[in-house]
């Protein structure tokens, strides 16, 4: 709880928490907040400019953009959460064992991670989608797989640093077994930089998944996904710029909130890093 209080006291962390909170509320209460059905079409209102009835205007199919943006929060947040979970739960143990046991296994794992990291971020996700096939579900998995090397590398370097600590020596000296040392001493201490990364990676995942959808490799129409909305709306950039304004704003806000939250978490959890 002390940790939470400190987070609330940091201006950056608080604003991150606030923005992220807004996005989460939009996602949870989407059916309540959204005034219209996100996929209901009314061609008579096609590309109508923002008005009191439709605060963000209508898209090319006459769908209420505000409702679509609100429902889009559901998609983006769940994509981000699942992708981060995949990266975290696969990457973390890889980094933990690789860093803790070292040796040839570590060397091999590190070269494999180097190879994956040669395709940073969205490139690896695009490559994985090319194998799995296009669609929102596969895009989600692809983004998750792309963050495995990030978590593995971070966890490993964290574990490597802890291996040198005297408290591990002390634990060994009093006869603690490998499993106990790993579980009780290494894991909890290696955790905080990884936790900070969760927030950043969540932000990146939302960006990458939206990017995949923008390229036509992720969410397919008529899903109200922010990246896909931008992709279909860009044709109307001349006559109806509002179509591309709001979904992009939504992505930026969601990502900004998580990045701010990450900064706040870092300040609180690791005051030594200084950026």
């Amino acid at each position: 709880m002390r940790f939470f209080k400190r987070l609330l006291r940091s201006r950056v962390g608080l604003s991150g928490l606030f923005i992220t909170g807004l996005v989460v509320i939009a996602a949870i209460l989407a059916p309540v907040i959204a005034p219209y059905d996100p996929i209901e079409q009314d061609f008579t209102l096609s590309l109508q400019l923002p008005s009191w009835r439709h605060p963000m205007g209508m898209d090319e199919f006459g769908r209420d953009i505000f409702s679509r943006v609100i429902f889009g929060a559901r998609i983006s947040l769940s994509v981000g959460a699942i992708a981060v979970a995949i990266g975290f739960f696969i990457g973390m143990p890889i980094g933990l064992f690789s860093g803790f046991y070292g040796g040839w296994l570590d060397a091999l794992v590190q070269r494999a991670i180097d190879a994956l990291m040669a395709l940073p971020g969205i490139l690896l996700a695009i490559f994985v989608v090319s194998i799995l096939g296009i669609g929102l579900r596969n895009a989600m998995i692809a983004v998750g797989i792309s963050s495995i090397p990030v978590f593995a590398r971070l966890m490993r370097s964290s574990v490597m640093a802890i291996k040198e600590e005297t408290y591990l020596e002390a634990a060994r000296a009093v006869g603690a077994g490998q499993a106990r040392i790993l579980w009780k001493h290494v894991l909890p201490n290696a955790f905080s930089p990884v936790l900070v990364q969760v927030s950043y990676q969540f932000a990146s995942s939302i960006l990458w998944a939206a990017g995949l959808s923008f390229l036509g490799l992720g969410a397919q129409p008529p899903l109200p996904e922010w990246g896909a909305m931008l992709a279909s709306g860009r044709t109307y950039i001349l006559s109806a710029p509002h179509v591309i304004t709001f979904p992009g704003l939504a992505i930026m806000l969601a990502v900004l909130g998580l990045n701010l939250l990450g900064e706040g978490l870092r300040d609180v959890l690791d005051p030594r890093i200084f950026l």
Binding site: A118, L123, N259
Partner: protein
Amino acid sequence: MGAYLIKRITLVIPTLLILSLFVFLSVRLIPGDPAQIIAGEYATKETVEQIRKQLGLDRPLIVQYMDFLGRLLRGDLGRSIRTNAPVMTELASRYVNTLELTFLGMSIAFIAGTAIGVISAVWWNTWVDNLAMFGALVGVSMPVFWLGLLLVLVFSVKLGWLPSVGKGSPAHLILPAVTLATLPTAIIARITRASMLEVIRQNYVVTARAKGVSEVSVILKHALRNAAIPIITTGGLQIGTLLGGAVITETVFAWPGMGRLLVNSILARDYPVVQGIVLLLAVTVVVVNFVVDLTYALLNPKIHLA
């Protein structure tokens, strides 16, 4: 230096080998019969068999991989399924276009990022610093495809100053390059600021000030020069971010690089082209990182080159 070089190369080679293995296996990981998928649902049996032969899918896996590797070393990436042209030929000019855009984006990012970072550090904890750092955070959070669309909206559609899509005049490069540069600019600005703040407190900077060296000279000669190493290395490592961003930026601006070809090839299931692009991009990243590493070692006398 020689020993260090050899040590670095012994790390790069297995990385490249594993990478080639991943790319090689990728087609085999596709659920179902790859030959059938590539040929399409309605292909005749003969076509499927022909593709299977063409890709060598009828031979043992290890033989296939050795063959793949051998052809790779000779610069042979196979043939495109769509056009039947050698993948290398299809990629060559697009690769150059992508590099052109990436290089320009990188240059902008280095200049703008360093400038913003230095200004932020000099006016540390004032509104200038806060504004710059908030701007950097927005830059990191901005989806590159949205930024591109907004720039088109403002500078091409509304103001009519710059062409929005395609390639031709130098003016065509401005919008895509600026779009692409935004994210690395933000990252480099943050690193520069952090690095400068660390250096500014060092004794030699205090001494230089005490000697009466002008403030500009203190910042640029004494501080920035010593803060340069992390800026150059982190900046250099952004090459991957830039290439990834390039793929998307190219799609927005219809820039004839590898990005659009990559997306179209995925949609058309033209796997040899996808593999070729992925390999080419990854090898570029590995080579650039390798060079950055060497530069780092050369610049930093603290690193033992052994």
